[in-house]
Symmetry: C2
Subunit: 664 residues, 2 copies
């Protein structure tokens, strides 16, 4: 029965996904056939009947976003991209599924494959990132109107996505904000890796979503008409919608379907043969016959007219509006931002205020937010501790998205993921605040910021034992190290208002690198008291006090709040004839990237002492074999900050003693 | 009106908490009065009418557990401990609230203050740890019967706890397991730090908990009778119960109550005076008049008779049963565990199997689980990837707690927190598995394992780019570093089956330190082929190949799967006349703790090359100024593991080339 299908049904279209998925996993001898085969009918309805896209223009700003939150089912997405004619995913690439340098890696990777809207795989991140995309759509729509910005965001999620804690934060926030253009399709297959989901959960997901302010409906995920009706209804809703699609995992594999055996391993030759029989799919591996392929390809071009109409509407904006829109979408900040920050730096070099760097951060943000409307601020319910809201910033509410400040609630993880979604969507530069110690709660998201190369700013205040009375649960010790260990993140710990502003300049200019700003709770003097024509923080480290080229006895390297100690210690040491240089090192990563000669000059050949009110881990890179470290050797303690510093021996006296010991 | 209250009402009792809390925060000029004042009525009902405890015996194994999940409201707990006569919290300690070395730190700290059942502060951890305690109660009850184990677990949670993602994982699991002795009292005050909770959430919590299989009721949190009736009813339920207590934050401060202004700052002199007036509390700061104090003290001794009766029942067990119970409660593993592991090691030194360390881990766990019934295994839905279930281990189900294996679901964070709760409760040693990369999702909990000093074992498999096809989202790069940076955690990355078993020996013997076992997906040869009378892993690092005392040209230091590369490279280098020593370093922390002389001997004075399929961060401590590193310099890639290793230059050839360059 190799006769071409004359008038492909939705099932025929879905079977193309099933066949490609099982064949690709088999060829790779690795991967997850169960989810693509189970959700093929749902995905076929979505892509052929609803999704607004133009396969030839994967970056069309007003396209619907599609997020495969259950990223292990990547063959679902690659099948869809191939079938609809997306440029990157040819049949050759499908055949190279999970092979090195292919366009079809094990989990979908943003920036690697056109048409992949976000990197997924760590469960729960996709749905949460989708919430960020849906927020960005509303924000941009509130600025430019429905004619230019009016699209949906769809996500396919699995049981795992909905068990992960981040999913609670995501649906809670989405329900609150009434993100009615967000439509989530749940692959309700009752199977997880360990077996039946009844091993570990009894939650009524429909009721759960309703409790969070969503519409929620149940459909048979193998009944195309039901799925179609549900999506059509969801599009008219004033709330976000969950469509619980009851499916059979591995649908079509007659002996294995409905079992965890189809989840994460190839079906095997015999079962694939049986599936071909069962599905009525007699074609060779990777063959999609006409007219099934052309019907799919038609879906990929279905959006062309809409795309053209959108361009027409865009051209009706005034030239200024259009340029504004395009600059935002491209992520081009106006030059006035840097100019304003440069002026701010010059002013503060002259005025030398003594301020907590979290306060300096607020002032720098004020300058930035006044100079551009592209920033979207927020905090995980620590607004007045993180100092993340600036004058004139209006809160975003469920009924008004013209604001620029998001109250993320006590939900660090969705804050990170939503910022990723906002950055991915285009139009805005998100920054969000919490305490540095709670970066633990958003590591899953910051890793994706880094992996995807997104300009997301994490404003992390209360950055040391300087937190004081809140004690060890709130005093970061290992957090700087654990963030510095992450590839492609710039971790800034500025010493004063000048370095803080410089860090913001770099963070805003880093279009493909997220930034962390670790900021003090306590006041710090301005130590950058001389004007500089260059951004010294951009070098990662530099000689702050003393002469880099003159002979020295000892080098003190410090960051953030400990620069004050280093400068005081150096003054006393120099007065006593110990030639001491102070190096400020606000960013390990940028210093690492400097030429060897510059690094050698800054570090010098004299013994080095690092001072940081945190753990030593990672500092030996800069201290060297003969150096010393003044910092923390365990967890902190509750008490007034100055006493806590003294308790743990992070004092000017301790630095001086360490220096004398090394020099002796 | 300083006349003594003749017959104190519940409100009088609650006002003692209010006064102590506002006065202590004022004296400290730091802290959170709003929550203790708001929840005072609820807490007074719980402690005077329900909580089974004997203040003089805070370690009575069958006491009810009380967890203050909203840990910032620590003055609520300290007030209760002082009022009921708990040994550590005298009025002098209350006066030293938030001062260094006091028993009343900013957030409650387990191990620091008797009567504090768990460290709280990071929101959502308390309720999740309470779930673990409630699980442990059921497990122990299933083993020893209701006569010896039959207590409730209560938790007070705030809005923040319920917004955090971890709360979803907690209530989902608790509802599934039908933990009907878990009763959660929610401080439903509609206020968070940013202001009204309506800024960020619209969730119907009662419906949400019901969706997860809980009872959920609403009461007026200032109506003692309503609270009492609700708790009484909850105690008869076959499900866990949420009691949503509608409260006014800062109740009693007439001008500030109901506002976020009472949340995290002292009320100020004037408002405190007004509150004294409003509450009819004319007493001096820190004064609790008779008979209010004696009524409270009576609550603290109320449980004495029950405590005595419990001892009586305990004495009715057979001598063996009783010894067994006491050994479990004390956390004393039978000596046979170590003996069995030693025999296992000897056997494998002889047999030299080639196995993934995750498989070796399974075999070691089999030995352990056969030798003791104190271990409780589990996985975050990766049982058959982590290899955490062993033969004969029965799953724990809602209806049967005689099992020993917990299907935590796709919920890493509650797995960590629940393991903390199980360890805190006493009776068991929990271990739980997930992929190393998803340790990101449980960092909040592992930090608390470390801070509290709990024997919790994290079995983290798929520990490098050796994961292969799953690609960069699943390939840990920075995770070893970020875990090594945590104080009081032993991070083991064993090279073979012998080191794996040694790591388990150490982890089980470390009663006050959690352990991470980072284990390979791929097969590794046995490299410890000679019998040793000592546990070499316990030294953190040791010379595996070559003579520590003979002159050498280069030292190769590696961990885990890269030991194989180091050994091969050393063989070739030695054959070419480059005297090469291989150091296996399965645990940085334990090596750091060795005497300087031992460390110097192992590391040697020759140039050193570290080899680890992860980031370099933290390795410079051991490499030194002249060393080199063969490892990762960014994120990984999807492809078959051997190709991925080659792609990133982690090969025998690369090690040899690096060595020759250093030696030249």
């Amino acid at each position: 029965m190799t006769t071409p299908v004359s008038n492909p049904s939705q099932r025929d279209l879905a079977n193309a996904i099933r066949a490609l998925s099982m064949d690709a996993v088999e060829a790779a001898n690795s991967g997850h056939p169960g989810m693509p085969m189970g959700m093929a009918d749902v995905a076929a309805v979505l892509f052929t009947k609803f999704l607004k896209f133009d396969a030839s223009a994967p970056k069309w700003p007003d396209r619907d976003r599609f997020v495969l939150s259950a990223g292990h089912g990547s063959m679902l997405l690659y099948s869809l991209l191939y079938l609809t004619g997306s440029p990157d995913v040819t049949i050759e690439e499908v055949k190279k599924f999970r092979q090195l340098h292919s366009k079809t890696p094990g989990h979908p990777e943003y920036g690697h494959t056109q048409g992949v809207e976000t990197t997924t795989g760590p469960l729960g991140q996709g749905i949460s990132t989708a919430v960020g995309m849906a927020i960005a759509e509303r924000l941009l729509g509130a600025r430019f109107g429905d004619k230019v910005v009016d699209h949906h965001t769809y996500a396919i999620v699995g049981d795992g996505c909905l068990m992960e804690g981040i999913s609670h934060e995501a649906i809670d926030l989405a329900g609150h904000l009434k993100l009615n253009k967000l439509i989530v399709l749940w692959d309700d297959n009752s199977i997880s890796i360990d077996g039946s989901t009844s091993l570990s959960t009894s939650t009524d997901q429909v009721k759960r979503f309703e409790a969070a302010g969503w519409n929620a409906v149940r459909v048979d995920g193998h009944n195309a008409a039901e799925v179609e009706a549900a999506i059509a209804k969801a599009k008219t809703s004033d709330k976000p919608t969950l469509i619980a699609c009851k499916t059979i995992i591995g649908f079509g594999a007659p002996n294995k379907q409905g079992s965890e055996k189809t989840h994460g391993a190839p079906l095997g030759k015999d079962e694939i043969a049986a599936a071909r029989e069962f599905l009525g799919w007699p074609y060779a591996p990777f063959e999609v016959p006409e007219p099934i392929l052309s019907t799919w390809r038609a879906a990929g071009t279905r959006g062309k007219a809409e795309h053209a109409a959108w361009h027409e509407r865009l051209s009706q904006l005034t030239a200024d509006e259009r340029a504004h829109f395009e600059r935002m979408i491209e992520g081009e900040l106006p030059a006035s931002v840097k100019e304003a920050l440069d002026a701010f730096i010059a002013k503060n070099v002259a005025e030398k205020p003594k301020l907590a760097t979290r306060k300096s951060s607020e002032m720098a943000l004020q300058v930035i937010n006044d100079a551009t409307d592209m920033t979207i601020g927020g905090s995980a319910d620590l607004t007045h501790s993180n100092y993340t809201i600036t004058r004139g910033m209006k809160s975003i509410t469920p009924d008004d998205f013209t604001g620029r400040y998001l109250h993320y609630g006590i939900r660090e993880h969705i804050m990170g993921a939503a910022m990723n979604g906002i950055a991915l969507h285009g139009g805005f530069v998100p920054y969000g605040g919490t305490f540095l110690v709670f970066s633990d709660y958003l590591r899953g998201s910051i890793r994706l910021s880094a992996l995807m190369g997104l300009r997301v700013l994490y404003v992390l205040t209360h950055d040391s034992i300087g937190v004081g009375e809140d004690g060890p649960t709130h005093q970061p010790i290992e957090h700087l190290a654990s963030l510095r260990a992450l590839p492609n993140v710039n971790v800034f710990r500025p010493a004063d208002i000048v370095e803080t502003a410089e860090a913001y300049e770099i963070a805003l200019a880093s279009k493909h690198t997220p930034s962390v700003l670790a900021l003090s709770r306590q006041n710090l003097p301005t130590v950058r008291t001389e004007a500089s024509s260059e951004n010294l923080t951009a070098k990662g480290a530099y000689v702050l006090r003393g002469d880099a080229k003159a002979p020295r006895d000892v080098t003190l390297i410090a960051t953030g709040s400990e620069i004050e100690l280093a400068v005081s210690a150096a003054e006393q040491l120099n007065a006593e004839g110990v030639k001491t240089v102070v190096v400020s090192m606000p960013c390990f990563e940028l210093f690492e990237a400097q030429p060897e000669a510059y690094r050698a000059e800054v570090l010098g050949t004299a013994p080095r002492i690092a001072i940081e009110a945190a753990g030593r881990f990672g500092w030996d890179r800069w201290i060297g074999d003969k150096g010393a470290f003044v910092g923390m050797n365990g967890f902190g303690a509750s008490g007034p900050a100055p006493q806590v510093y003294k308790e743990f021996g992070i004092t000017v006296e301790a630095v001086i003693a360490a220096a004398k010991k090394l020099v002796a």
